[in-house]
C-alpha cells in the first residue's frame, strides 16, 4: 500500500519509468540540438518548443488516463473512444492556435525577428500537434488495450512509455512541420 511504502520501495518503483522517460526525452533533445538549432529562425522556434511539449503532456497524458479509466471501469466502447479522440483533437487545435497567437505577440514585442510570417507561427504548432497526435493516439490506445488484456494496470505501464514516445515525436513532428512549411 502506498502509505506504507519505504524509501527503498519508492525508488524501486519510480526509477525504471523515469529512466524510460529520460531516454525518450534525450532523443528529443538530440533532435532539438542537431535539427532545430541550424534554422535561421531558431530563436523564434525555441519559443514554441516548451509550449508544445507542455501541450503534449497536458493533452496526451489525460487522454491515456481517460482511456485507462474507461477500460478499468468497463465503459470502453466505440462511442466513448470516438468522443475521447475528438475532444483530444479539438482541445489540441484550439490550444495550438492560441500558442500561435501568443508567439506572434511575443515575437512582435520581445523577440523582434521578422523572418517567420505570422501565418507560419499559427500553422507550425497546429501541424506539429496534429502529426504528433496521429502517432500518439493509436499507439497509446493500442498499448492501453494490450496492457489491460494482459492483466496489467494501464495507468502504471502506459504513461511512462508514452511520455518518452510523445516527447520524441513532438520534436520530430515539429521538425517535419518546419520542412513542410519551408520555414527559414
Amino acid at each position: 500500500m502506498e502509505s506504507q511504502d519505504t524509501k527503498g520501495k519508492i525508488v524501486k518503483e519510480s526509477l525504471p519509468s523515469e529512466i524510460i522517460s529520460i531516454v525518450g526525452d534525450i532523443l528529443a533533445g538530440i533532435v532539438l540540438s542537431l535539427l532545430i538549432v541550424p534554422f535561421e529562425s531558431f530563436l523564434i522556434l525555441i519559443l514554441i518548443v516548451p509550449a508544445l511539449l507542455s501541450l503534449r503532456g497536458n493533452i496526451s497524458g489525460p487522454y491515456i488516463a481517460r482511456t485507462s479509466k474507461d477500460l478499468i471501469i468497463g465503459e470502453f466502447n466505440r462511442k466513448s473512444l470516438i468522443e475521447n479522440i475528438l475532444a483530444t483533437y479539438v482541445l489540441s487545435i484550439v490550444t495550438a492556435f492560441i500558442i500561435g497567437v501568443f508567439s506572434i505577440v511575443l515575437n512582435i514585442f520581445l523577440i523582434k525577428i521578422p523572418i517567420v510570417s505570422n501565418i507560419m507561427l499559427i500553422e507550425i504548432p497546429i501541424i506539429t500537434i496534429l502529426i504528433t497526435l496521429s502517432i500518439s493516439i493509436p499507439c497509446s490506445t493500442g498499448l492501453n488495450y494490450l496492457a489491460f488484456k494482459y492483466g496489467l494496470n494501464p495507468n502504471n505501464v502506459v504513461n511512462p512509455i508514452m511520455t518518452a514516445i510523445d516527447d520524441f515525436f513532438t520534436v520530430i513532428s515539429f521538425y517535419l512541420s518546419l520542412i513542410m512549411l519551408g520555414v527559414p
Partner: protein, 183 residues
C-alpha cells in the same frame, strides 16, 4: 456528445494556462541565445530535465493526496515519519535519475558530436538546479495539498497540471540563472 463536452470543459483552461507558461519558458530560452549557443548540451538535456522534475512532482502530489485522504498524515503543517520517508525516497530517485540523465546525455552528446563545454561545471549546475527545484516543489506541494484538502477539494486535480507547468517554466529559468552565476 456529453463525454466530449465534459472533457473539453474540464481541460481547456488548464491546457491554455500550461501552454502559456510553456511560451514564457520559451521566451526565457530565446532571450538567452548566447548561453544556448555556448552550451549546446543544455538543449539536449533540457526536455529530460523538465520531464524529470515534472514527473517527480506529480508522484509527490499524488502520494501526498493519498496520505491526506487515508489519514496517514494530518492536514497540518508539521513533520512526520511518512513525510520524511517520501522526501528521502523521492530525493534518492531524482538524484539517481539525474545520474542516468547525465550519463545518457553526455554519451549521446559525444556520439552525435554535440560539444560539451565545461562538463564538470554543467553537472554542478544541474545538481544545484535539481536540488533547489525539488526542495521548493516539496515544500510548495506539501503546504498547497494541505490547504486544498482542508477546503474539501482533491489536491490532485489542481496541483498536478499546475506543478507540471510550473516545472516547465522554472527549470530553464533556474538553469540559466545558475549558468550566469557560475560562468
Amino acid at each position: 456528445m456529453e463525454y466530449f463536452k465534459k472533457i473539453f470543459k474540464e481541460s481547456i483552461i488548464i491546457v491554455i494556462i500550461s501552454s502559456f507558461m510553456g511560451l514564457i519558458s520559451g521566451t526565457v530560452l530565446s532571450s538567452n541565445e548566447r548561453i544556448l549557443y555556448s552550451f549546446p548540451i543544455i538543449l539536449l538535456i533540457l526536455p529530460s530535465l523538465n520531464s524529470l522534475i515534472g514527473d517527480i512532482s506529480t508522484v509527490l502530489s499524488s502520494r501526498l493526496t493519498s496520505h491526506l485522504y487515508i489519514g496517514i498524515i494530518p492536514p497540518k503543517i508539521q513533520k512526520s515519519d511518512r513525510l520524511k520517508e517520501d522526501f528521502y525516497g523521492l530525493l534518492i530517485t531524482i538524484l539517481l535519475s539525474l545520474i542516468a540523465l547525465i550519463v545518457l546525455g553526455y554519451s549521446m552528446g559525444i556520439a552525435t558530436g554535440i560539444e560539451i563545454v565545461n562538463p564538470v561545471l554543467i553537472i554542478i549546475i544541474l545538481l544545484f538546479t535539481i536540488l533547489l527545484l525539488f526542495v521548493s516543489m516539496f515544500i510548495f506541494l506539501f503546504i498547497s495539498a494541505i490547504f486544498i484538502f482542508k477546503q474539501g477539494k482533491d489536491p490532485n486535480n489542481f496541483l498536478i497540471p499546475f506543478v507540471t507547468s510550473l516545472a516547465d517554466f522554472l527549470t530553464p529559468l533556474f538553469l540559466i540563472i545558475f549558468i550566469q552565476i557560475f560562468i
